[in-house]
C-alpha cells in the first residue's frame, strides 16, 4: 500500500476541477431534449409514453405544433425519442440545466425557436 500511495504523490491528480474544466459527454448522452417543430405530426405518442408527464404537445395552428418540456420533471430517459415516429425529438449532450428560477425550467419549442436555433448554428 505504501508504495502505491507514494507513487500517487507524484502522479497527476485525477480529480476533474469541474466548473473550470468541462467534461466531454459521450455522443449519445441523454441530456436536454430538443424538439423539431417542423417534423412533428401531433400524434402525441411521446406524451403518452413519458413516465413523468414532462412533455406537452400543443396544437398552435394548422399542422403546427409546439412542445412544452418541463426540465424539472424530465428524467432524461429519452423514451419520447424512441416513441416518436418522425424523429421530431432529439437528445443533446447539454447537462448543465440547473436554474435558480423554477419557471425557467419550462422550455417551449415551436417553429419560431427552431428558426432561431438554426440561425445560431
Amino acid at each position: 500500500m505504501i508504495q502505491e500511495v507514494l507513487r500517487s504523490l507524484f502522479k497527476k491528480p485525477v480529480t476533474n476541477l469541474y466548473p473550470a474544466q468541462k467534461l466531454e459527454m459521450a455522443d449519445n448522452y441523454r441530456g436536454k431534449l430538443v424538439f423539431h417543430a417542423s417534423k412533428c405530426i401531433g400524434c402525441r405518442l411521446c406524451m403518452k409514453d413519458c413516465p413523468t408527464g414532462a412533455i406537452t404537445i400543443n396544437k398552435v395552428g394548422e399542422k403546427q405544433f409546439e412542445a412544452e418540456i418541463d426540465l424539472g420533471k424530465c428524467i432524461y430517459c429519452a423514451q419520447c425519442v424512441d416513441s416518436c415516429l418522425k424523429k421530431a425529438l432529439e437528445t443533446t449532450k447539454n447537462v448543465e440545466l440547473a436554474q435558480l428560477d423554477k419557471n425557467k425550467l419550462k422550455v417551449v419549442f415551436n417553429a419560431a425557436t427552431e428558426g432561431q436555433a438554426e440561425k445560431q448554428a
Binding site: 500500500m1 505504501i2 500511495v5 507514494l6 500517487s8 504523490l9 502522479k11 491528480p13 485525477v14 480529480t15 476541477l17
Partner: protein, 312 residues
C-alpha cells in the same frame, strides 16, 4: 513584562502558533489528498474554514452544562499554546525555560484530551459521551509509550529541560541516531493523541458521528479545531526539539526556516502514516499499544540507560 506579553500573544505564542497550526493543517490535508490521487484544498482553505466557523452561530444543547461545554475548547487551546512557548525554535533559548519543563510540556499536551472528554461528557449527547469515554480510554494506552520514549531521550541528554536537551543533541548530531526507535514509537503515539487514523476511534464518524465534538458548532468548534491543529504542530515541534534539533546550530534565520521545514516534514510523515491504515477497534488499539509500543519504548529506555553508562 512587555517582552513576555509579546512572547505569549504574538511570537512564538498565540498568533504565530495559530497561523502555523492552520498552515500545518493545510499541509496535512494537501498531502493526504495527493497521496490519495486527489487535488486537495487550495492554500486558503483552512483559514476560510476557520473564519467561516467563527461567523457561525454557537449552539449549546439545552441539556448540556453550558459553562463546562464552553470552557473545554479554551482549556484545550490555552494548554497547547503554552507548550509552544517552551520549545526552542530558532536559537538555543526558548521563550521560557526551566529545568523540568519537558515534563510540563508532556503534561500540558494531555490537557486537550481531557478537555475533549469534559466537553463531550457535559454535552450529554450519547455519541459525545461514547466518544469522550473512548478519548480517555485511549489516553491511557498511548500516553505511557509516548512519555517513556521522549523521556528516554531526555535521559541520555541528562536534563529535564527542553532547552538543554536540544542543546545536547544539536552539539552531538550522531546521538540522534540512538533515538530513532523512540521517535518511531512517539510518532505512533502522537497519532493516538491527535486522534488520527488508525487511532481516530474517539471520533470515528461511521460509528459515533463526531465523537466528543458531536454537539459543538460555530466559534467553539473553531476553537476546538484550532486546538487540534496547534496540538499537531506543538507535538511535531516537540519531537523536532527532542529528536532532531539540528536547526539550532544554523543561526537565527536559517535555523528558523529549517526548524519550520522539519516540523512540516513530521506533519507530512503523520499524514503518510494515516493514509495507509484502517481504523482499529478500541480493544485492538489498547492491545497494540501495550503489546508492541510499550515494550519498544522500554527497549529504547534500556538502550539509553546502557548508552549513558558507556558514553558519559
Amino acid at each position: 513584562m512587555l517582552n513576555s506579553l509579546f512572547f505569549i500573544l504574538v511570537f512564538p505564542g498565540f498568533l504565530f502558533v495559530s497561523f502555523f497550526g492552520l498552515v500545518a493543517e493545510y499541509v496535512d490535508r494537501k498531502i493526504y489528498a495527493r497521496l490519495q490521487n486527489r487535488v486537495g484544498p487550495p492554500w486558503f482553505q483552512t483559514f476560510a474554514d476557520f473564519i467561516k466557523l467563527l461567523g457561525k452561530e454557537d449552539i449549546v444543547p439545552c441539556e448540556a452544562n453550558a459553562r463546562m461545554f464552553g470552557l473545554a475548547p479554551i482549556f484545550a487551546l490555552s494548554a497547547v499554546v503554552t507548550v509552544f512557548l517552551y520549545i526552542p525554535i530558532w536559537r538555543y533559548d526558548a521563550a521560557f525555560s526551566f529545568n523540568g519543563d519537558i515534563i510540563m510540556a508532556l503534561y500540558l499536551l494531555t490537557i486537550p484530551t481531557l478537555a475533549f472528554f469534559i466537553g463531550g461528557w457535559y454535552s450529554t449527547s450519547l455519541f459525545a459521551r461514547l466518544g469522550s469515554v473512548r478519548c480517555v480510554t485511549q489516553l491511557f494506552a498511548y500516553e505511557v509509550p509516548l512519555f517513556m520514549s521522549i523521556l528516554s531521550a531526555a535521559l541520555l541528554a541528562n536534563s529535564w529541560s527542553l532547552r538543554d536537551i536540544a542543546n545536547f543533541y544539536s552539539l552531538r548530531p550522531a546521538y540522534c541516531l540512538f533515538n530513532l526507535l523512540g521517535f518511531a514509537v512517539s510518532m505512533v503515539a502522537l497519532l493516538g493523541k491527535l486522534e488520527k487514523a488508525p487511532f481516530d476511534i474517539p471520533e470515528a464518524e461511521t460509528e459515533i458521528v463526531a465523537g466528543a465534538f458531536t454537539e459543538y458548532s460555530g466559534r467553539l468548534l473553531a476553537l476546538l479545531r484550532l486546538a487540534i491543529d496547534i496540538e499537531m504542530v506543538v507535538g511535531a515541534a516537540l519531537f523536532v526539539a527532542v529528536f532532531f534539533p539540528f536547526a539550532l546550530a544554523l543561526g537565527a534565520a536559517l535555523g528558523f526556516i529549517v526548524f519550520i521545514i522539519e516540523v512540516l516534514a513530521v506533519v507530512a510523515l503523520l499524514s503518510l502514516m494515516r493514509t495507509v491504515v484502517a481504523r482499529l477497534r478500541i480493544d485492538q488499539m489498547i492491545d497494540f499499544c501495550w503489546k508492541y509500543l510499550v515494550p519498544l519504548a522500554l527497549l529504547q529506555l534500556l538502550i539509553n540507560l546502557i548508552l549513558k553508562g558507556v558514553l558519559v
